[in-house]
Every structure is written in C-alpha cells, then in structure tokens.
Subunit: 365 residues, 2 copies
Amino acid sequence: MSLLLTAPGVSAHNATKPQHKSQIVLEDQGSFTVGGGVVTNPGKFDPIKLTPDGQTIHGDFAYVQYQIPRNPRRYPLVMWHGGGQMAKTWETTPDGRDGFQNIFIRRGFSTYILDQPNRGRAGRALQGTTLAPVPGPGPTGEQGIFVRFRIGIWPNYFPGVQFSHDPAALLQWWQQQTPSTGPADNEVASDAIAALFKKIGPAVLLSHSAGGYPGFRTAEKTPNVRGIVSYEPVGWTFPEGGAPAPIPTAAGDITGQTVPLSDFLALTKIPVLLVYGDYIPDPQKPSVYPGIDIWRGRLMMARLFVKAINDHGGKAQLLHLPEIGIHGNTHFTMSDLNNETIADLLSKWLKKNRLDKYGDRRDLH
Amino acid sequence: MSLLLTAPGVSAHNATKPQHKSQIVLEDQGSFTVGGGVVTNPGKFDPIKLTPDGQTIHGDFAYVQYQIPRNPRRYPLVMWHGGGQMAKTWETTPDGRDGFQNIFIRRGFSTYILDQPNRGRAGRALQGTTLAPVPGPGPTGEQGIFVRFRIGIWPNYFPGVQFSHDPAALLQWWQQQTPSTGPADNEVASDAIAALFKKIGPAVLLSHSAGGYPGFRTAEKTPNVRGIVSYEPVGWTFPEGGAPAPIPTAAGDITGQTVPLSDFLALTKIPVLLVYGDYIPDPQKPSVYPGIDIWRGRLMMARLFVKAINDHGGKAQLLHLPEIGIHGNTHFTMSDLNNETIADLLSKWLKKNRLDKYGDRRDLH
C-alpha cells in the first residue's frame, strides 16, 4: 500500500507494516457494555402518543473493546484511561506508532480497552451536564494541558522530551481529549469496571492518571484484579484515619482520600506498581508553574501511598523513571516516543509477579 | 477459555471462537482523528496564570479505527453509523455475534469504523450543548426507539423479528445509544468524512440511518467515495428545483433536501445501493403508530431518490428486503440475526460492481 506516500495523512497509521513487526493474529475481537443503572419515568408507555411516560434510559455503564490473540496468556490486560481521555490513550500514539494495545497483543496478551461511564462511547449518563467548547481558566485549554501533562512550557518543548515535535502529532494528541457526558464519579466508575472484572474473570489492570484512583477502588471491590500497574495516578486511597497531611503546591493542596481499612487491605494482597515520568520537581524545589509544581506534590503523595500499602504488609513499588536512567517522559508515559522501553518494564514486572504465564483460565475461577 | 460458562456475562463476546470461524489476521490496526476545526481565544497564553487567554480547543473532527487484514482487497469499507449511535453499530451485535466489521475483515476487506464529529470518541465540539438523561417526549426514550427502530410495539416483539428476545441483548442494544456532544450538522460531518476519504484514498462507504444523508454529501465532496451502500437512510439529496413534494406521515412530513445539481451528479458516477427492512407499511396503508408510519414515507422518498439518480444517468438501486424474500429485519439490518445473509447481499453487490478485487492501491490515486 502506498497510502503513506501519496495521501495527505497526518500520521503513519496506514503505512505498510514495518518489517520488524509481526502480524496480529486474533482468535476473536468485539465490544460490549457492562455495569450501569437505569432511569425510569413513572406512568405507562404509550406507543402512539410517545410521551415520556413509562420510558427508560440506561446510563453510567462502561464500553469495552476486547481482542483475544491466538494462544493468549492467562491474564488479560484491562486498560483504563485518565481524565479527559478514553480508550484512544492505549491505541495508536499521537505520532502514529503502536500503543500499549498493539504492543501487548503482539506479546500474547488479551486486551480490554475501555471507555469509563460517561466518557467516549459510554456516553449515556444518569445525570445531565452542560458542555462548552470554550477553553476555560485552568488547565482545560490545549496550551494548559500541554504544560500540565509535561510536554513543555507552551510553546516550548522540554529539552529531550519523549514527544514528537511534529505539529501533526500534537494535533492528534489534542484531539484525543474528549469531554465527560455526565458527572465524574469514582464510585460509579469503579462499580462498572468491577462488573467488567466479574464478567471476564481474573485480569491485570493498567490505569492512567485520573483512572488511577477508581482503579484502586476497583481492586477493593473485586478480587479479580490480580495486579495493578498505574501510570502517573493522580489519586490514592488510604485507610481511614491514615491519610497523610495535605501537601501544598502552586496548584493547591494534594490530598489522599480515605476508605475503610478492610477495603484498603485489598491493595496489600496484589502486586501494585506506580510509574512516574520526568520533569517533576524535587520535593524541596517548587516550580513557579502550577501545571508542573502539582506533580511535585503528586509524586510525594504517591510515595506515601506505596509506603502505606507496604506498611500494611503489601508489595507495592514506585518507579520514578529518571532514577533508573529513563529520561524525557511526559504524563503520557505509555504513549511517549520510548513507549516500547516502558512496555519492556511492564513485561519484566508481569514476569516477576508470574502474571505473564500461558495456560487455561478455567482454574482461575 | 471458560469465561462464557462461568461469568455472568450478557453476551457470548468472550466465548471460545466457534469452529467455523477463521482467525483474524491483521497486518496492522490503529486509530486516528481527522478533519475538524479550532476555537482560539484572543490574547497571549500565560503558563502561570492559566487564564483562557490565547488557548485553543480543537473540535468537530471524526475519530476512526482501522484494521488492515493480510492481503487486503483494494477498496476498504468505511462504515458510518446513524443517529444516536457510533462505531459500535458495526461491531459485535447486541446478542454477541460478529457485526459487519468482523464479517468483512474475515472476507478480506480493510475496515474503517468511525465516530462522526461530536459523537462517541470524537467528543470535542466547537459549539456547546446540554445533555439531559431524562427520557423526553418522542422517540428518545428506550421504549420509543424500540418502536421507531421496528423491533416491535413495546413491550411486544414483531412476529418473526430478526432480533433476539434475550433481555440481555436488548440491554446491549439500548446501551449502544450515545448522545451528541454538540449540534448535529451534516455539513460539518460530511466535511470530516470527506477529509477521511482524502486521507485514505478510494474506498466504499457503508452508511446507516442518519449517516445516509451526510454520506451522500461526502460522495458529493470527494471522488474517493467509489460506491455507497446505505442501510435505511433517513435523508436524501435532490438537485435544486427537483425535490419531490413532502410525503405526509403520522410522524410528520418526509422531505428531501436539495443540493446544487453539480453536487448531485456525483451520485450518478458511482454505484449506489439502498437497503430497507421489514415491517414498513405499504404506501396506501398508514400505521397508527408514528414510529412505524414514518418508515412508509421514508421508503417512498427513498424510491424517489433512487429514481432521481437514475433519471440523471446514474445506477442506483433500492432493495426492499421482503420483496426478495428476506423477512423480519429491523432498522438495524446489518446487526440483525440474519446479518450474514445481509452481508452476502453486500458481497454480491461489491462483486457485481468490481469493488471487491484484490490488488495494489497505488494506481488508484
């Protein structure tokens, strides 16, 4: 196919497969919705008058796409996006390379990529909302998220940043933002994803950013979450009475939320890995940029979260990538230019925790 | 995998692949956004104050997922959903079987499934909107669409309807509805999909329902649409001055929209097929149910549209399925229980029009 050469495409998405890539061989693929609730109007439905009487609308469910490769490993990977994002997070990168979905199908894992309730294709919500396209104050405009997600200080890229300088890549990244179609509610979200894990059986959860906190909650709601790797989570659970003091930053206080101890202890039963990238200020060196300084507080709180899990007998770990010689990562670690390296770290972690074995899933239930 | 047996799933999505199905072998797959515009606030961006000044938001683009099988046929199939829907339309059916995406990948076609601007994962709009979950008057509640999309007269199914009576299938179908995140604008939509065809090169367009009209507009905007198969389109273009008289129905008048003759003539240069299902009243026998009677007018107008194309030298065709002995189809023809039969009709049409050939795409540009 010559499409890359002749079409005015913005990415390499439709190029001939590079020679080093293997074909993707799937036993099956498809999609479904899971979880959620329903609003029912009182009265009796009239199929002629078609008033609202007796009509329903289901909402607050999740939408999931799955792919099952030939001879899959036992534990699928469930991939949960962050705030203002949907499953695109895990698909083709902004510059047109394989994201974690393709990388890990090629490595033999079944994948489930999802849109959480009230996001993307899981659009029907049980509560209303108003959507306004105008870039508001704070980090909601595209220049704001450029800073907040640590690509640089707009319009300048950070030196050595693992993000393409091609304007077309930036446009693709901006366009993978999408609004919430209802209120963001971490309990609603984690209920739906817990229902997903109950449906598909034991699996490993990958989460990103604002998907971190409801992902931890999901593991507290179902034992089918057999491990969590969270890329730059921005929320953390602590046992009641055990929340650290808020950490002040130029973007406001960073706090940890509390849950019953019995919930929290679920996180001590499974391996947990947190991964953070580059350009995060040292604890004692605040940045003047709120969008950057917030990460100083978040990384500090994440370390306290890992400590809390381990103090209760768990086996959590935090990888701050620059500390192991991996530089230039933005907030979107798993789609950065070095995402194959980030994927290799995940493969190693899965192997170490015996979550990459092949074999029948029947004995897992 | 034993998932189907042990998990409380609503569909067969994660069952072992039935023996008669072949594996799906992909050279590549991925996603991207295309088309759209931008809102830019006046002023200069301040990375410390983070006011709206100088910030942008891109919107009104389409989101596209593509799969390229091993040794693909020359013309990909681009699949465009209808109103209140997104690409899920073409994926797993409500009862858990292969939709047109899988069916036609297995038959050797590259597929592009899309979310039109301001729908599903193409969520960012350039104009605001308000979303309310309460089932409103008209066919917006789930009982209303049950009638409007010709599954039956709620709560009764039509005799012989090609839709599973399993409540779990109905729930999946209801949950594949999703709201618009901005105003529906057929010009905005067809601009984005025309940009898609310009990017990927010549391809065949499949459209459904409210995707029909902007699909016709797309072919009027780019010569890369090499054929159109539209399942139950609910809008049609006529040359200026050539619109038929409105057709009254119990749900209001059915009208055809007009476009410049030079636009309309594009539809005479390519093969066009319209497909309509069952339970549509005869022209002279109105139904008391507005949600059913509207189809009487729509089918009548569709026949006039086909006639207009052919009167101008084109080669359009309308298939009313009951007339060729295929019964029980709802408005969702391509995901009904007999969708393999519907797919066979498409394969025959593609063959007849020489749109199913294998070979290099280079000479198409």
